[in-house]
């Protein structure tokens, strides 16, 4: 099982923190050169420093995913510096709207889709010609199990991730004949900085951990192995797939189980 990325270059958006930063560090450890991108140059520089301290190579490019020109210039910087992109990770995402659909402001909905969906489209359009011409490579679109399931208050974020899931499958069909694989990485609840208020509260931590058959919250680092699998030759025949990393959460519907399988009262 060879998960090595030696000699490859990986471009990872949303890599200033959370899952994106973990994937950047993990892919660097696996041997890849890293192109870091997010809006926050300070965070990117911190990740770049950590990569360099561990002996890796990275550049940090402040980028606004909702601006196609900014994404285009990110791609140019990457190619100027490393000449090729072998691995493209679309991970930047806004999750600003947590509200019942009735209360979702249309302007906020549009701003969220502009980052999550249109940002990914801009990235694919900017990198596609290069990757297709090169005739190899792996694209990883980081989505979410919220793009598959109907959890309350997640309409804007969930719909954006559902759009990405569809995009993954469509682009896989379009790019497969050129040798470029496209897969989704779908984390379930993950203990990142963004949800620290939940994971720091022992009762809330336990309540959600108990829903996952593996019984714990994954860390951002738990996403590294799956990402290396999708990025490397170990998954050479896998494209168009939505790789769910949720500790078994989506294999179970506990409410249904309790309703159907409950033992009758004595």
């Amino acid at each position: 099982m060879d998960l090595s990325l030696k000699g490859k270059t990986a471009l990872i958006t949303g890599s200033g923190r959370g899952i994106g930063a973990a994937l950047a560090l993990g892919m660097s450890q696996a041997g890849a050169n890293i192109v870091l991108a997010s809006r926050n140059q300070t965070q990117l520089d911190e990740v770049r420093t950590r990569i360099e301290a561990a002996g890796g190579s990275a550049i940090a490019v402040a980028t606004d995913m909702s601006d196609p020109a900014s994404v285009k210039s990110l791609m140019q910087r990457a190619l100027d510096n490393y000449r090729h992109i072998d691995i493209l990770v679309s991970n930047a995402a806004a999750s600003s709207i947590i509200a019942p659909l009735i209360d979702v402001p249309l302007a906020g909905w549009r701003a969220l889709q502009a980052v999550n969906v249109e940002g990914t489209i801009s990235l694919l359009q900017a990198a596609g010609p290069h990757m297709l011409k090169r005739g190899s490579g792996s694209v990883i679109i980081v989505s979410s199990t919220l793009g598959m399931n109907g959890n309350p208050n997640s309409s804007a974020y969930g719909a954006s991730k559902a759009a990405l899931n569809h995009l993954t499958r469509t682009v896989a069909a379009e790019w497969g004949p050129s040798g470029v694989r496209v897969n989704g990485l779908l984390p379930g609840p993950t203990a990142t900085e963004r949800v620290k208020a939940v994971t720091d509260d022992p009762a809330k931590y336990r309540a959600i951990a108990a829903l996952m058959p593996l019984g714990r919250w994954p860390s951002a680092e738990d996403m590294i192995g799956p990402a290396l699998f999708l990025a490397s030759e170990a998954s050479a025949f896998i494209t168009g797939q939505l790789l769910i990393v949720d500790g078994g959460l989506s294999a179970v519907c506990r409410e249904a189980g309790q309703a159907v399988m409950a033992k009758p009262a004595a």
Partner: protein, 252 residues
Amino acid sequence: MQFENKVALVTGGASGIGRATAIAFAREGAHVLVADIAEEGGRETVQMIADKGGEAEFFRADMLKHDDIRNMVAHAVTRFGRLDCAFNNAGHRGGSTNAVDCTEEEWDMVLGLNLKAVWLCMKYEIPELLKAGGGAIVNTSSGLGNFAAPLTNSYSTSKHAVVGLTRAAAVDFGPKNIRVNALLPGATDTPMLAPAAKGSNLKIQDMAQRIPLRRLGTAEDQAEAVLWLCSDRSAFVSGLSLISDGGLSVLR
């Protein structure tokens, strides 16, 4: 080496994906029990592993016999001391029949091998994995575990059921540190493929041209996916149906 000092059991290890996976496990340092009803092929797999300096043993088991399955798991533990990973892969493609043509004999044989045997394997493997403090199981389903194709009545049914069996075990034993996942291979260049292509009146090369990646899978492709699912690099992956089909199923 990812699997040094680990013990892996591979059923259907005499050919195809099972053989490639047994070889890959051994290359990564695992001690492998290669089980199959086909003695010659099984012993060949063991020899191929030994030639590369790996550690493996053959065990003849008929997956339609409950006792054989119980003895197989017991033998893995007797021989190698423990069990860490299991690849429940033995199967049969069935006849090219629909719901009307399929005979009761075909149904019982295909469901017996592809489904009941996978359950029985887990029934005996899981207690051993628990003794080892946890472990990983991969069950071979199929692209036809996710949709049907013409004349795959018994096969497609059995492979759909493997997905359910896998999820149920993942849910029940996840809290005890056992991960259970299903591999759903698409068209893979193995001895099982040729008769399958005949059944569908589709030449193998035509089949390859319909796949987005424009090639068939290899047994080695599938083996890599199994190893990843058994490794600590998929530590939070369980209950998953991993489709490895070159993208064919996205075209539906």
